[in-house]
Structures are given as C-alpha cells and as structure tokens.
Amino acid sequence: MRAIIKNGIGTFYPQGFLDGSSSAAILTLEDIQATIHNNSDMILVSLKKVIFFNRNGLDVFVKMFQKVRAANQTAVGFCDYDTKKYDAISRFYKDDLMFSLFKSQDIAMLFSSSFKNQNKNVLLFSDDKSQRAAMAIELHDNGHNPIIAQTQEEFEEKVTAKNAYDIIISDTFLGQMGQKVATRVTGNAIIYTVSSFLDAEISATFNISYHNNSLNVGFRLFIFDAYKVISMNVHALNFFSKLSSSGAEYNATICFIGMSFEKTPLVFKETLEDAGIMFFNQMDDILQNKELLEELGASSPANVKEKRTLNKVIVSELPNFIDATVATIEMMTNSQAIKEAAKVEKIEISNKEGKIASSLGFYGDIDGMVILVFPIGIAKKACELLIGEEVDDTEIILDTLAELVNIVGGKVKTLLSDQHISVDITLPRTYPNVDSLLEIVQNKKGVQVDLSFNNDKFLFFLTR
C-alpha cells in the first residue's frame, strides 16, 4: 500500500476489517521505508475507514512501527478514530504504548515539525498529567498556543466555547516523537528542525543534496529551529560553519532560532556568527518582520556567483520532461495540449497578468530545475480533480498547484528511471505571480517551451 504524504506526514489508509492476516497483506516494512525516503517525518495508519480491528491486526503495524523507530527515529502511530476505538487501543497496549495516537489528522499535524500553519489556539485534555505536559510542551515548541484543561469537568466546560479554539485535542496520546532533521517551507524560507544533542550525526541526518538543490531552486533563507537543542559539539559546529560558507556564493543566509547556549560553549556562537550565521530568540522575530525577511533573502533575487548552464544530458532528456508535464496537466484537466514553440533563451513571459508559477528542483545523476507558469484558469481546473470543487482561494490553489507539480516530478522521476537515470526531487516552490518568479530566474538561460491547453497559454522552462 502507498502512503499519502502531506506536511511531512505519511498516512496509510486501510479499509474494512483488520486482523492478523489482512493487516500483513495491507502494509509492509518496505512501504513504510519508501514513505520515509520521500521526506516523511511521521508515519501514521488511519483508522477512519476501518470498521473492525483486533489486537492481532494492530500488532502487525505496531511491530513495524518499532522497527521503523529503531532505524529512523521517525514518529509513528495511528490516527482518525473515535473514542471507542481509542479506548480499545489503549486497553490493548496499556503498559506498552510506544507509538502515538492522534484523534484526527489535524491534531497529528500540530505535532509535525513540517506543518507550516502555526500559531493555533489549541484546547487540550488528557487524564494523564504527564501526557498533558508533554503535549503542551510539543505544541508550544511548534509555535502553537496550548490551553490545558486539568480535569474532565474543566474540559467539558471549556469545550462549549468551541469558537475560542482552532483545534480541540482529546483522546490523544503522544508517543516518542521524531529526531530527524525535518524540513518545511514557510513562504520562501526553508525551516529545518533540529533537536537534542547536535554532534557528528548531523552530517548523516541532514540532507545536504536537498539543501544544495533548494539553493539552486532559489531559496535563500534557511532557518534552523533549534528550540529543542540541548547542546552542540565541535563536529556540529564545523558542519554548520561549512554549510554557511558554502551557501555564501548564493548569497544565502542561515539563522538559528531559540538556541540556548547553557550547555554549549559561548565561543561556538561567536564562531558561527563569524561564519555568517545569525541568531534569533523567536521564530516570529524573522517571519513577522517583512523588512528583515527581505534583507535576509527570503524575497530577494538570486545572486548566483557562477551561472550554471544547460548541458547536453539535460537537453537530451527534454522530451521526457515535456511529456511528463503535458501528460500530467492533460490528465488533471482532461484537455489536450498543443506545442507552440521551443527555444533556448532566458525565460520570456509575454503576458504576466493572471498567472501563477511553480518550480521544482531535481538532483542525482543529473540536476536542474523545472519551472511551470500556469494561467490561473488551468491551475484552477487542475485543482478541481483533487479538491472536487471550484476554488478561488489563492493559497489553496497554490497548495494544490504544489501537489500537481509534485505529480509532474514523480512522473519525470519514473520516466528517467526507465532510462536508468536516477534523480530525487525537491519540494516544489510556488509563486503567486510572475514577478516573484522572475526574481529567481530572469537571468538563467534554459529551454522554454510554450504550450497551449484549450487556448490557455502555458509555459514550461527547464534550466540549471
């Protein structure tokens, strides 16, 4: 079974009846590993469409959870259940609950370090005092505002004021949480979450290829969420110093947020500052300060020292990229594409009005960047298949557009892999207008292909 990955959470959706034999047929360890490989920092099995399960059925998943946690430190658990199912699971694993239980996906997302919509007012209740504390700390660390009900009575009283809270947490249990360097994108900044002890392990857990390709795609601000870091040793110090120096050629900035130097020599901070790394106490010190954001590069044009050019290998794969893009958009919009023109030039967008864009980096045997410029009409049509209704909210359209570009990336990956070319893809970046895209790519040379979908002009641009 394949997982659906959203906001860093990979969720499996079994249906029907789960016993020992059916669960084993539904999910394998390889399915979970593949999901983790695709940038998931939490693995969940949804019980939303499961009408019956027994202990044997859940045991199959729990054993896999244990293996996955031991190998990857990924957060694992079940979600989407009612109180009856929660009580049953709690009864089955009374003294041995190493995994998490999230009543809903929305609750799970609050605890995922990849979730970008923070600052939620959360009413929280658990009859276990240590659980209440653990959840409140995690929520607070993730930038939310937890309101804790100490008793069932207090919870029932508070819950009546439903509008006061964005999310209400009950019937939830927090197991061991992840230790991976999780990644999320907020606006045009990439946020990495680091925790605990930073040592030589950081070079293994940090995805340097992903980071380098994010630089190439145009991200310039990298924030390390370090609230939960206890200490840093000299190996980690060297790692971050090098990371900062190597980003300098792109004019990139690295910031640390919430890092305490109680157990780390203060001289480390000075060394890191010398390497160009900046320190802030609160995430909002940066994210809510538009001027600072601009200064730090989250919305400024790229200033790349060495311009990379297209090479023969990439150009020879162009038909694959075009095919993947055209097939995906045709599939999502049920319309036919007509190729109008192709040229090797700097990107040229004749009519900038009413267009949005997305870019996606790929790296591995070959590397580069695909840029797609959509008339808003095509983007909305493509969104209809996934959302099921017409939408006008730009944020939802951009989010869905990112999913669509992810589908294009997945297709490219498969087509290239058929030719024994192995690539990975970055998270897609979206642009609400053409000007914000041009800030990143206007000086890059690439292959531009103009396409028309039912007379809507669509632009494909491949560059490095």
């Binding site: 079994p14 029907g16 047929a25 298949l385 099921g388």
Partner: protein
Amino acid sequence: MITKNNIDSFIEKIPPAPTVIKETLLYLNIGDLVKAAKVAQEDKALTLYMKTLVNKPIYGFRHEVNDISQIFGILGVSKSQQAVYNYLMTLLSPSKWKLFKLNKVLFYNLQADLSVNWQKILNHLHIEDKEIESAISLLPASIIVSEALFCDKIHDVELIRSTHPIDLNTIIKRLAGLDIFDICQRISEKWEMGERIIQIIQASSGVKPSQDEFINTLGKWMHLFLFYTLSQPKYIEAELNDFIDFQIDYVGDIYNDFSKLMEIS
C-alpha cells in the same frame, strides 16, 4: 485522462447478452429448470463455467457435480439465475488484468465468495427473491469497469493517489460526471437485468443512498459485505481493497447485526 467519450465507447463495446443466455434466463424466470438446463447445454463455455463455479469448496458439495441438468437441479431457480448472471459478467472481464492483480481463478473465487455469502445474508434477512439474489452478480462489474478504464493509466492513478486520498470512483466522477456504479447500471440495462438489481447496486456504492428504505438496507448490507470480502488477504494483495471508498457511517446501524452473522470477534 478519462472522458465521457471513453466511457461511452466502453459501454458501446459491451456485447448484448448471447441468445443462449437470454433463453436460459427466460426459462429460469418461469421456473422451468429442465428447459433452462437444456438450452444452457448448447453453450460450452457456460457449461464449463457452471461446473467450475459450483465445484468450488465454498459451495460445499461433497462430490463433483458434472452434469448441467444436475447443477441446475441442485442450485434451484434463484441460484441458477445468479450463476448465469455471474457467467455473463465473466464475458466482460479481461483476459489479462493489469490494474488489479487478478486472474481468472481469483475472479471466479470472488464471484463464488460473494454469491454464497450474499445468500447467507438474505437468509438471515428472511428474503427469498431471485432478483435480489442475483443482484450480487452485478457487483464485480464495478471491478471490471475500473480495470477497463484505468488499466492504461496505472501510473497516473498512482501519482494522483500519492498526493490525495481519492478513490477511482471519485476520479471518474470528477472527470467524466458519472461514476463506476452508473456505468454498472448501463451494463445491467444493456443486459436487461431487473430494475431492483440496478437500484441495489447503486445504493451499494455507499455514496448514493436509496429513498426506498428496503433497497437502502440491502445497499448497506451489500456495501459492508463487499468490504468484508475485500478485506481477505488474497483480495488485498490483488489491490481490490481501496478501489472505492468504504463509507463506514453508511453501514453503522447494521454493523452489529452483520458482525454477529459473520461471527466476527
């Protein structure tokens, strides 16, 4: 990816029920098993199918049954009609399955599992009605339709489903405006299956409850029973478990009764 034209062309290609089948069903309708068996004998494929089906362990016959008249005699009118409809369905099934990891044997097993246990459910509900008994034979058409429409789009489906929890039924509905069960209805109309069969199958989709309380109850039982069957490892491995969405709320009020009947604990 899939347009209404694709669906229309698929429906157009569905062959009408062969004359032998029509005649067999006609005699079964008037309860004449002897004449039905005699006509059925003319179709070697039907004869072979009936033999294969009734000799499956789930039918529970101690000795192998080979003679077609004997098969009709043992099954009786209702189950014979159900078996003939099952055969009709196999005429639509592909020789090689691509979307689902099915083969002829597994598909026949699925038909047998559905038919025998549906009978158990109808006995429990005290329903004796050959049209309702036969309704179950149309259910696998939903699988055949999904296979036919998506077999060349497997990778596209995988990509869409890697970003969104969306079932094949919803994809077709959003792309072409009609769903898998509407297409099943078109098949059954072409084969002149009874009106109530169509209504039950539509309700069994779980997303189109019937206004008729009796039909709706049968739709609920069939929907839950389908997912009970598709939760068997062999069908999960065939990737049949999530081609349509299980509507857990739709079947909530009959679940306890169902679990007692099926001895689920």
